[in-house]
Symmetry: D2
Subunit: 207 residues, 4 copies
């Protein structure tokens, strides 16, 4: 039975909740995934978020890793295409750090692509009426930082890994001009993403 590691983040920047983590918890309660699912919550901290994720990877040796974060302002569930070796923050992370124009890893490769089947995920979400789109940038805050560390560590290995940004929810209380989706729909989107990835992986390694 394959093993899946799903991560969300703790709240940050005055929001009372972080739907990336709440959706994963909801998914566990109501999901239909033919795999062992491990879920972990990561700190919104440059460096540490990714290091913690890699510790969980080392401990659980998953076949699939999907890190999830919230992107306020986005209207769709967005699998990220590429992680870049760049940090630059407009707001402090949860330890008060605000790096500017710095690399994630000194002398690291410029960028890594996701190894999730991002197009298939987007198509499967759209087929179920969930707004979805491939994103070309995971930003320069902790999400990209975590994503870059993940893709770098698993580069060349037989693990499907990547990052998915989800829209805000009304529970974040960010005002009415921020697009939102219900948590139930975000959880369902992540369930679909996991299942599409597992199916793609099964096809790849079928004898």
């Amino acid at each position: 039975m394959p093993r899946v590691l799903l991560t969300g983040y703790e709240p940050f920047s005055d929001a009372p909740v972080n739907p990336s983590w709440d959706a994963i918890r909801l998914l566990l309660q109501q999901c239909q995934i033919d795999a062992e699912v491990v879920t972990r919550r990561l700190p919104v901290v440059f460096g540490s978020g990714g290091r913690r994720l890699l510790e969980h990877v080392a401990m659980h040796t998953p076949d699939v890793v999907i890190a999830v974060g919230v992107a306020e302002g986005r209207t769709a569930v967005t699998p990220e295409l590429v992680a870049i070796n760049y940090r630059s923050a407009r707001i402090p992370d949860n330890r008060g750090r605000k790096p500017m124009d710095a690399p994630v890893v000194a002398d690291g490769q410029t960028a890594y692509f996701s190894t999730l089947p991002v197009r298939e995920i987007v198509d499967a979400l759209a087929a179920e009426g969930i707004p979805a789109e491939i994103s070309l940038s995971a930003g320069a805050f902790v999400c990209n930082d975590t994503f870059y560390q993940l893709q770098r560590a698993l580069s060349g290995l037989d693990v499907a890994s990547g990052f998915i940004h989800v829209p805000a929810t009304a529970h974040m209380q960010r005002g009415d001009s921020v697009p939102v989706l219900p948590l139930e729909q975000i959880a369902r989107a992540l369930e679909i993403a996991v299942n599409v990835t597992l199916a793609a992986k099964a096809r790849t390694i079928a004898p």
Copy 2:
């Protein structure tokens, strides 16, 4: 038992569906409303949309009338505050008409306020995690046109009437930069709006 008239619109402008009508149909299937609910679909046509609505009002003599339309680009369910005596279209209506800078009713009053409890509706929606906001403009297309005719006809009468704009749904297939809500959440929002209005009306007329 009070009577409620709910209207949505037919599709327009190349969208395959109109969630204003689909949400009302869904609401009928799953709603809990202590009232007789009449639902009708209106044409997206200047003049006719409102005339048709007023015929339904005349026939059913409802206590509450809520006309519902879709506003692509909005992120929240938005009860409209005010209808203005103005028509101006960027796209043709479903009969190909595109009025510009014209009145809804020649020599009509400049504007009418909604007689729905718009603030209470917004508060009740927010309490349930549904994004909601009072809107200050119903636009200058068929929605405002219908809304103006409705408020003018019922002005001074003991009927709570108004207009609610809802966000697009993914089924409208408008591309991924248009904010959407699931149809289920829109239907639930309309159910809440009806119940809040009925409760407010019951308070007002209680002996």
Copy 3:
């Protein structure tokens, strides 16, 4: 020689400047207007903004009155179509007041239309490559409050009056996702608006 009263506002909400006033000052330095132009700065205060404006109107008996305000987030210069009898603030005005769901004038008329030639103004701006659009809502903050008082006081009189919202400028330092126009272009837009209004007025009263 006709007389024109132009008003802008003082800064508010932590912005260091208010382009509505700065544009009017710039316009005075470089304008070509065949009229006596009086300019005044109004407080961003519910009630007082409009009262002050009406004092200036009483003192100068202008033929044209254009009140100007900034609308952060707008991409175009937007002559307002209609002022409504409604106050509701998300942020406090410059005296710390934050009214909610209140009328501008108790028992006042629901709304007044602008008496500026808003379509002609928009067409003239577009012809010169300045983004412009008729706006259907002046909001529910101090701008609409001032605008409503102005239109109510001048209703039925032979004065062309109204309100124009302008986009933010880079000098407001609101971050890079707020659309901006250069102050020079805003000043030029107001000059055009005044001249179009004077020409329309001259046509109307020609024998």
Copy 4:
């Protein structure tokens, strides 16, 4: 005397003009740049846009190369940080091609960073009141395609090269919800970008 190659694009997607090219022409008429400036217009065609640019590079051996494109919807002048090895089009290019999920260069490196001083450029623009921001994604259309080919070809060489996206102008006639800047301001922004890059380059190679 250093040599600078500046490129813009031909119009595309029904817009009558392309401000990326018009701004460069305007810059030539009014600029103050202590360098020999070569300007060329590129086709909006996958593959060809970049090949043409590289031919101009080969012919003129510039010290600085800045490719400029328009990004409708952006509010600021945005030097691009990174070019990615990915093509995916929502609209056809000017030869009717619409690649999806394809690489720019088969087996090419995932991404290349700009070698322009993007932070210095952004700071210099902001100091002059021009809205500016580092962009983390040049998209997946012809602009990124050209940018990727450019950075790949010049990788490791002593040429400062990169891509700058500029907002739409009113002359593109895209409707009033698209943020615009005047062409004069875009031309001024490019002049600043060139001068900042030349100054940075002079510092780097000073003995």
